[in-house]
């Protein structure tokens, strides 16, 4: 995949790869993860599950591997922490070949979250979260502090949840604990295999939101596998689209939308469907930045979050009777506005769309 499109650490990944190119070049030395010509053929399989994948992930990057079932996306993910061993090729984590270090040590430095969560049912929430710190021999006080910090972080009040059993939690709460457990020893890398796949839409949306916030706050490398196109576009700095064991395109969401590499990608993201495009494109890429040139009749009462999709923005504009609406950050501060003129750009094709006020996606971070 072309290196110049790498979107670095929670930065200006949205600027169609251009700003990303400069910063990417600056950080070109140590990649967080490098995957070099990796193949995987399972015993008795007719074709390789992963067929010659090359991929570099920058420090602090949120990379989504998007593909349908059988595309090899999960297999690729699980070769990074050696749940599966590759047939050939090389994977470097922080410049070190994953096969050159003891596998347990490798895994303790990589957070791992799976769809089924896999909490230990015979342990309390606190004991679950303390798993890796205990293996690493942290002292008790440090572990207790860390557990409470993580429970707070995942919006589970410690005094209320510390001593609960996993089965006393809802699915969403279980996955919150799962994420807290993966973050327990503060690993620089987080591998997530469809972590929100079995959650209801509302819970999924709030966990996506929190994960994004978390990732920006702690600058983790997140590699996130999903088959859900909306989810991929909501979360990713870059999306690697996989099909039949290969990466067919790895680009920023915006480039993927504007320049799908082939028919498969175009069909996957439904490039010709305007409503779908509204869902995938973030407000931040189309709004007018700052308070400059606020048109008369702006309905500040109607606002959309910075990372909302254009679909949500359209709904807000419709609700306000066609008048522009404010775009606000997490602290509810107005960072820009969006109206008909900006929304129309999407339907008129990428050239116009890119011409409109494209803004940095994570301006509030």
């Amino acid at each position: 995949m072309p290196l110049e499109t790498v979107g670095p650490a929670g930065g200006s990944a949205g600027v169609d790869g251009i700003a990303g190119a400069e910063e990417g070049a600056g950080a070109a030395g140590p990649w967080a993860i490098e995957i070099e010509d990796v193949w995987k053929t399972f015993p008795r399989a007719r074709r390789p599950a992963v067929a010659g994948v090359n991929l570099q992930v920058a420090p602090g990057e949120f990379l989504v591997i998007l593909g349908s079932s059988g595309s090899g996306k999960t297999t690729l993910l699980k070769m990074i922490n050696r749940i599966h061993d590759m047939s050939s090729g090389r994977i470097l984590v922080d410049g070190v070949d994953v096969r050159s270090v003891p596998v347990t040590e490798l895994r303790r430095r990589i957070g791992y979250v799976i769809q089924e969560v896999g909490l230990f049912p015979h342990q309390t929430v606190a004991q679950n979260i303390a798993t890796v710190p205990r293996i690493l021999g942290w002292d008790r006080q440090r572990i207790d502090r860390r557990v409470d910090f993580l429970l707070d972080l995942m919006q589970l009040p410690p005094e209320q949840y510390r001593n609960r059993r996993p089965r006393q939690l809802s699915g969403g709460q279980q996955q919150r604990v799962g994420i807290a457990r993966a973050l327990a020893a503060d690993p620089p890398i987080l591998l997530m295999d469809e972590p929100f796949g079995s959650l209801d839409a509302i819970t999924r949306a709030s966990l996506q939101e929190e994960l994004l916030h978390l990732q920006q706050r702690f600058q983790k490398v997140v590699i996130f596998v999903t088959h859900d196109v909306d989810e991929a576009f909501r979360l990713a700095d870059r999306i690697a689209v996989m099909h039949e064991g290969r990466i067919v395109q790895c680009d920023t969401p915006l480039r993927l939308l504007n320049h799908p590499a082939d028919d498969f990608v175009a069909r996957l993201i439904r490039a010709d469907d305007v409503l779908q495009q509204l869902k995938l494109r973030p407000v931040a890429d189309f709004m007018v930045n700052g308070a400059a040139g606020i048109p008369d009749g702006l309905r500040a009462a109607e606002s959309v979050p910075l990372h909302a999709s254009l679909q949500e923005a359209l709904a807000a504009v419709l609700r306000s009777g066609g008048r522009p609406v404010a775009v606000v950050d997490r602290q509810e501060r107005m960072v820009g506005w969006i109206g008909w003129e900006q929304l129309k750009g999407v339907a008129q094709g990428p050239a116009v769309a890119e011409g409109t006020g494209i803004q940095e996606r994570t301006g509030s971070a």
């Binding site: 922490n81 749940i83 596998v103 347990t104 040590e105 490798l106 895994r107 303790r108 430095r109 791992y112 799976i114 089924e116 969560v117 896999g118 909490l119 230990f120 049912p121 015979h122 798993t131 890796v132 293996i135 799962g178 457990r181 993966a182």
Partner: protein
Amino acid sequence: MNYLIRYWDRVLELFLQHVQLTVTVLVIALAIALPLGILLARFQALATPVMGLLGIIYTIPSMALFAMLIPFLGLGAKPAVTALTAYSQVILVRNVVVGLQGVDPAVLEAAVGMGMNPWQVFWRVRLPLALPVMLAGLRVAAVSVIAIGTLAAWINAGGLGVLLFEGLYQYHQAKIVIGTVSVALLSFTVNFLLQWGERRLRAWI
């Protein structure tokens, strides 16, 4: 009733003998079944032939098995313990294997993925989660050892079976009733206690 009042010390002695026989058998049987079950859960290819063999042993009538062992081990507790241990293997081993293999694969994947070594995965995750099923096996094994154990009196191993056999030979109804009630009481108590333990364990897990 008169018999029980007059000979309560003998009944108690036989009762305790029966308990001792049962406990001895279960301790030895567990010492064999646990490692064997762990091995079979690990190496699945071995499971089918070994479980088949244990199944065959289980089908041998107990009187016949006692008789078969006498030429090698003589009369008394030795052949009784050996035979009863052999019988309980099929129940215990199967439950150890099923318990260990029944652990949710996602839980194991999470454990492995977090960097637990195989030893830690086994002791901290797999074994504790398999315990309720293992305990259920122990309960069934205990009850069947208590029942089959009555026949051990036939080869001079003592226990409550002595009362039953005497009652049969002497046409002594009181002995038969007392023997039967005692065995049932023992069996019921053990079953109840282990079931309670199992339920506590499941609640805990």
